[in-house]
Amino acid sequence: MESIKNEAIEKVKELSSSFDVSYWRRIYSSRLFPEEYWNSIAKNGLFGFILDEKYGGMGRKFIELVHSTIIAARYYAGMGSYLFFSGALVGKLLEHCKDSLRNGLLRRICESGLKVSIAATEEGSGSNILSISTFAERHSNGYRITGSKMFVANADVADYIIVFAITSKEEGNKGITMFLVDADDKDIEKVKLEKVGMEFMNLFSLNINELDVSEDSIIGEIGDGWSVARSVFAMDRVLTSAALIGTANLALDTACKYATKRILSGKPIATNQAIQFPLADAAARLYGAEAFTLKAASIKPEERKFASYSNIALLLALESSWLAVDRAFQTLGGHAALIDYDLSRYWKDIRLMRLHPLPEEIICAIIAHKDLDLPKSY
């Protein structure tokens, strides 16, 4: 699929390609945050990609960010491109901050990037955001938040954390609110989780012990955080699709290069249909996923149907990228296990993505209910 060609996207390609596979190999092996990559994006104003020019943003369209993400992943960040697209998307949430905070935060994103972690899921509450138990109690000066959060990415490097908490336990109005809190607040205990995959970032569980926040920290409306979060999370799913597709194409590029050179019985293994056809099948499905993802990216996020598009895009991206990376892995034979052949990184990362932001089965069940009108099964 050829891309829209324009300056902004070309800039992303130029920048991202300067961080080659050996850079990412080093980052994953050392398990360090890729500061150089982050800073390079920040310096070039790319975190303001879709933000309004009045904040110093580039004012580009969402579909261009989606294109750019596919490119950033393929050349050569893989799922490391998550840092790019999530850094560019967070402004869409912070647009709903109170007046006293909004302009300053958005300017910072455009000038130097802002590291923001999302603290939504909990040990006892996974796919169903409405079942969280972290509670924000109202008092004279604001709110006091108590609870625990799970699977919080980048809490160690974050400037801010967006905490999802219940602000009302009344029957029929279990209001959820988003709070923007200082990541270094003493009342937030961060426990690092030892994990496999996505070694460019750390995951944490958080214990929030009577954290006091002001009214000003609320993003959107009290008790109605989900209204704002819903469309941004849907945009996140489309961008995730883009990153998956780019990463899977990088895996295929790697496998095809290998298969064209690797000789067995006097000819390249790429001439074997048992190698070639599964790769081609995956490539065709990725092509389809990309065509649909770009279609989704052209729908306005405020429209009701955008959610359906984003769910279908993500399912297609997950299915096709997993097929691609697993077949690419197989193509490398024994070399797949070697760190220096890079494929194992892509394989682990894509495997994790079948569970985040939502398990694939939940996505299927949501499509079955919302788009096929079958009874809710989850």
Partner: protein
């Protein structure tokens, strides 16, 4: 439930609604009976003809609507999702194999004479390429055409020619220059337009095949015996069919993609409707994840195939090379239709095995696309070579 189509232009929505109002009266019983009896759906054909559907992509200068392959694909897709494959294939036969081919590659005399006749529904078109000894290996065809007077004499045999027994126009691929003397491997083939009711010398004999897909339309063996075709009826240039075949075949792939996707959608709708009302263990079977999740996956895959089909049709109409999206669309459409039909069969349980439920008819028709217009293995070879730059494997 329908595919994510709502981003389509107003004109496209109107095409769908208008076609629907013309054809939705041809119900399951109608198609079931014509499939069972292997009988041409004349009333359906007449309804399309009298509502000018075969003039959809005929240029306005010849009395048509002047639209492109994009609009033809939409019509094919809509016909498939309302009535199934046979209904859609008739549109491909006339609009793609006929109008699209002639308007691009026939000479002015042919265009001026024939294109306006499509608008009034006078024609049914067949495309005769494959032979018993030449399926995907088109260059190995042995049907020959030798020069004589102001035309050519054709001798040979074709197989798997849809609608040959009803055709008024047949596009015949024949070898005009022997393989061993051509400079380029792909040289020496010519497409001849045979006007069935104007045959002056020689003959065509048609033998129907008792087959299992698109039975209402019929597939055939076709035998040419000293058949004379005037040289003015050559489509494209002598010996240079290979210059224009890729474009024609791309249009075919975009059309079959549209057809298979529409069929897949029809099957999912049937399966969901059934699953919502079939009660087992006190609840609709559609509430079981084992029933509903595979349908959701098939639905998503159909959406992907359609997105690629739209890209291919747009490129085709813009005169750009569309071979990659056209072949990917055909491949994904076939795969998605196959998954949808298999899951529909499974969802219907025992009822799938009754012909009256219609699922098996659509299942038989849908399976065809994994073999025609090209076997999926050939589609994968094409994708491997063109998209992944891998070496040829055969």
């Amino acid at each position: 439930m329908q595919l994510m189509l709502s981003e389509e232009k107003e004109e496209h929505r109107i095409i769908r609604e208008s076609l629907s109002s013309t054809i939705s009266r041809f119900d399951n019983l109608y198609w079931r009976e014509h499939d069972r009896k292997a009988q041409f759906p004349q009333e359906y054909f007449d309804a399309l003809a009298s509502n000018n559907w075969f003039g959809l992509n005929v240029p306005e200068a010849y009395g048509g609507a002047g639209l492109g392959l994009t609009e033809v694909s939409i019509a094919i897709h809509e016909a498939a999702r309302i009535c199934g494959v046979a209904a859609a294939d008739i549109i491909m036969a006339n609009c793609t194999f006929g109008v699209e081919t002639y308007k691009r590659f026939a000479n002015e005399e042919i265009k001026a004479r024939l294109l306006k006749e499509f608008v009034s529904g006078r024609h049914i078109v067949s495309f005769a390429i494959t032979e018993p000894g030449a399926g995907v290996n088109t260059l190995d065809i042995s049907t020959k055409a030798r020069r004589e007077g102001d035309g050519y004499i054709i001798n040979g045999q074709k197989i798997w020619i849809t609608l040959a027994h009803k055709a008024t126009l047949m596009n015949v691929l024949a070898r005009t220059k022997p393989k061993d003397i051509v400079k380029k491997r792909t040289e020496g083939l010519t497409i001849f337009l045979v006007e069935i009711d104007k045959i002056k010398r020689g003959s065509i004999r048609i033998k129907r095949i008792d087959d299992i897909s698109m039975r209402a339309l019929g597939s055939n063996e076709v035998f040419f015996d000293e058949l004379f075709v005037p040289e003015t009826n050559i489509i494209g240039e002598v010996d240079r069919a290979w210059d224009i075949l890729p474009t024609i075949l791309n249009a075919e792939r975009i059309s079959t993609a549209s057809m298979s996707i529409g069929l897949g959608e029809l099957l999912i709708k049937m399966a969901c409707d059934y699953a919502k009302q079939r009660i087992v263990f006190s609840r609709p079977i559609g509430s079981n994840q084992a029933i509903q999740l595979p349908l959701a996956r098939a639905f998503a895959q159909l959406n992907a195939a359609w997105a690629v089909t739209e890209v291919a049709a747009r490129k085709y109409d813009n005169g750009e090379d569309c071979s990659i999206p056209a072949n990917v669309a055909a491949y994904l459409g076939a795969e998605a239709a196959s998954l949808a039909s298999d899951r529909a069969m499974q969802t219907f349980g025992g009822m799938a095995y009754s012909s009256d439920s219609d699922v098996e008819r659509h299942w038989r028709d849908g399976r065809l696309f994994r073999t025609g217009p090209l076997p999926e293995e050939m589609a994968l070879s094409f994708i491997a070579q063109r998209l992944l730059n891998l070496p040829r494997s055969y």
